[in-house]
């Protein structure tokens, strides 16, 4: 049936992903070798005009070290994820739901059970990111038995029941389509691809006594080459997750039979400005897990892990819609716990790309 078809499709995508990853690693190895050879050559050229050849095993060592970094980073991160969805969610600062005593958490737990019936899946573990006051959520896990859905405290406090239902339905779609599994694989790859860049950065950065050594030049070369891996990692993330966000949005509307659920969530996020500090709490290799991306100043659109909020809202409603204030229409509007959120002005001042949040 449909669920098996989409899981087969997801497996096919995993193969494509592994291929793209292998290709990127090969390119990265080439780039590191070329950059180091260039710097070495320039260095020798300035020092002794006679010119000296490259040291023995130059390319073998460069290639070996690069592979060690990338594959080692990938392996390390992946083995850290072996703990499964709950372990990863804990790393991201989520804790298990405590439904007794707290009305909002009771409601969230109930909604997760409702959407499990609507989607025909087992109820996943519900978790809360208690220290996050923005509106966001993610789903993760290797498979249906391991699945986790986590929402921020802000989402619990500022969303109506209908909106929270839309948000949970969106995350259920990610579990059902096998996106969460794909994303678990991606995290390790992106981490590995960023390793070379970070290593170069370490060497380039001046040491404690603020001296810049000759080695720094080598660091700069490694950084430049490693940047390729960084960009490729993020491009991979973006390519995988962007289309899936539209699908998940459509599923959320289908399952809840309401545009105003998820639509309201996106419009509320549009109406808030996020605190830059809070956005940094989620590491960049995990960006693509979230309901809305928290990375603002992006270089280019094709690096975005999520389509813009405006695009998503337009697809849900069929026309552009303005932002919503944070009040809960069920008469539950509460004072904002922190001043991270300014109440949305009637016409919020927004940059060309909208708010910092880009619902993914």
């Amino acid at each position: 049936m449909l669920i098996f078809e989409s899981q087969r499709a997801a497996r096919g995508q995993t193969r494509k992903l592994l291929f793209a990853f292998a290709l990127t690693v090969a390119l990265l190895v080439l780039a590191v070798n070329a950059a180091l050879a260039l710097v070495w050559g320039l260095g020798w050229g300035l020092w002794s005009p006679m010119g000296g050849g490259l040291p023995r095993h130059f390319y073998a060592v460069n290639t070996g070290v690069t592979l060690l970094f990338v594959l080692g980073g990938w392996w390390l991160e992946t083995s850290r994820l072996a703990g499964g969805g709950v372990a990863l969610a804990r790393q991201m600062g989520a804790r298990e739901l405590r439904p007794s005593g707290d009305f909002d958490e009771q409601r969230f737990g109930n909604i997760v059970h409702e959407m499990a019936i609507a989607s025909g899946l087992k109820p996943p573990q519900a978790m809360v990111m208690a220290r996050q006051s923005g509106i966001n959520a993610f789903a993760t896990g290797w498979d249906e038995d391991d699945a986790v859905i986590a929402v921020t405290q802000g989402a619990l406090e500022h969303l109506t029941r209908e909106e929270l239902q839309g948000l949970v339905a969106h995350e259920f779609s990610h579990i059902r389509e096998g996106d969460t599994r794909l994303n678990m694989r991606l995290i390790g790859m992106v981490f590995g691809l960023e390793m070379v860049f970070r290593f170069g950065q370490r060497i380039w950065d001046p040491d404690i006594r603020d001296r810049t050594t000759v080695a720094a030049l080598l660091g700069l070369a490694i950084m430049a080459a490693g940047w390729l891996g960084w960009v490729a990692g993020h491009a991979l993330q973006a390519a995988v997750s962007r289309q899936r966000e539209y699908l998940a949005d459509a599923r959320a509307v289908q399952w809840t039979r309401s545009q105003d659920g998820l639509g309201g969530v996106l419009r509320k996020v549009l109406g808030t400005q996020t605190d830059a500090e809070e956005a940094r709490q989620v590491g960049s290799p995990m960006q693509h897990l979230l309901l809305v991306s928290t990375e603002g100043d992006r270089v280019a659109h094709w690096l975005d892990s999520h389509p813009t909020l405006e695009q998503r809202i337009r697809r849900i409603y069929g026309r552009p819609m303005g932002p919503l204030p944070l009040a809960r229409s069920d008469g539950e509007a509460r004072p904002l716990a922190t001043d991270t959120f300014a109440p949305a002005p009637a016409t919020p001042a927004r940059g060309p790309r909208g708010a910092d949040w880009t619902l993914s």
């Binding site: 009305f103 409601r107 909604i111 029941r161 239902q165």
Partner: protein
């Protein structure tokens, strides 16, 4: 034996294999309907268990509305006995119809209770009442989604049993098409009872 006999034998065997496969598929689909009814049943029971608690909490504040409260309890008891009959024979159209009628009455009685409760702010502010109402809303939603799933399974079975050539097997073994749950045929009825607290 001639080659002709062998061919006929092979064709006959193939037909038998196919018929066994088609029969098994119909049985599987029919069992899925019974299972889907079980899902609704679980939620209905959950609701019947919640309602008396809700009425007890409301009684403290609604001393003058005894009639409304009693109506809810009576409707709940009636729905519960209809549910027990239907659970005994899940694919019986008559029992399902009676259950649908009783459920509609219960929905109406609950709606009146919540309308009355609007005038009692103390009741609306009661912590236990809020939690019970949330449980009830959630149960209403679950029933709605489970009904949807039930109808999807009925549709799948009916399609399979009505299509040629499976139709032959269905007729032969007297598989009857199943009725959908009627109260989900119109958009207005599909909406859950509005619980406003």
């Amino acid at each position: 034996m001639g080659a002709m006999t062998w061919v006929l034998l092979a064709v006959g065997l193939l037909a038998v294999f196919w018929a066994v496969g088609a029969y098994n598929r119909l049985v599987r689909l029919k069992n899925a309907i019974a299972n889907a009814f079980g899902q609704i049943d679980v939620q209905l029971k959950r609701r019947y268990d919640l309602i008396p608690n809700l009425v007890e909490v409301a009684r403290k504040y609604l001393a003058h509305e005894a009639q409304t409260l009693e109506a809810v309890i009576a409707a709940r008891n009636q729905a519960r006995s209809a549910e027990q009959t239907a659970a005994g024979s899940p694919l019986n159209a008559g029992a399902l119809g009676a259950l649908a009628g009783a459920e509609q009455m219960l929905g109406g009685a609950l709606g009146r209770l919540f309308a009355v409760a609007e005038a009692y702010p103390d009741l609306k502010a009661d912590q236990t009442m809020r939690e019970l109402s949330e449980e009830l809303s959630s149960t209403e939603n679950r029933i709605g989604f489970a009904r949807q799933a039930y109808n999807d399974h009925v549709l799948e079975f009916n399609d399979a049993a009505a299509q040629f050539p499976t139709l032959i097997v269905a007729r032969l073994f007297n598989f009857q098409t199943q009725a959908m749950l009627e109260s989900t045929t119109s958009e207005a009825e599909r909406a859950p009872v509005k619980v406003t607290f």
